[in-house]
Symmetry: C2
Subunit: 127 residues, 2 copies
């Protein structure tokens, strides 16, 4: 029997946190450097508490950390859960690559068929 | 202003569908070949309707497709959304690689310091 590890495993928490375009946009901004909550809120048409709520979800999932030292408490991206997501998707790479390979074989067969038809056409006209 | 594309964009739907260990276990089984709902339900301590509910979430997110032709309606994994997730995580690869590089530099410095200390120790004893 496959044991379900519950909804609160790390990977599930990461995927749930990433299932929101605002949270992904916040991560994209943090990828270029640490930012304060006010700086992060700027580009969004959202209140500071709404942004803080998203930051709490990201923090609980371990995707960001907030400094406790500096007065402005900068947010920092933490890449470990994203690395785990990348490793998880790698298990499926062979599927999309195989399907692309099959498409490639099909297109090559199609091209070869067309080439033969053209050659046959030329020979027929040459007779 | 950053425009939020809403909760129903493809990537959010994919992440939400993946935020469950049972759904990820179903995908893992489908990675080795098409399966019927009954076959998919087997390893789980779940009712058929509960498994069907998970399959509907996966189907809506475009992660699986169910054949309408065969009597047993086999489920098939669809890799396109997983490829999209892989491409999304790639944008963050430089972050975890940079941090690993920095750790590497730190460890090399530590080793070099220890080596110097050992050499210095030998010289002192040699005097």
């Amino acid at each position: 029997m496959v044991q379900s590890s519950g909804l609160h495993d790390q990977l599930s928490a990461t995927f749930a946190a990433l299932a929101d375009p605002t949270r992904r946009a916040i991560l994209a901004r943090l990828a270029s450097g640490d930012r304060s909550v006010t700086e992060l809120a700027e580009p969004f048409d959202m209140s500071l508490p709404a942004v803080s709520k998203h930051l709490r979800v990201l923090e609980r999932a371990g995707l960001i950390a907030r400094s406790r030292e500096a007065q402005w408490r900068p947010c920092r991206i933490k890449a470990a859960p994203l690395k785990e997501v990348a490793a998880w998707t790698e298990r499926y790479r062979h599927i999309w690559e195989q399907r692309l390979d099959r498409l490639d074989v099909y297109l090559q067969e199609l091209q070869s068929k067309q080439r033969k038809e053209r050659q046959h056409g030329r020979k027929s006209r040459g007779k």
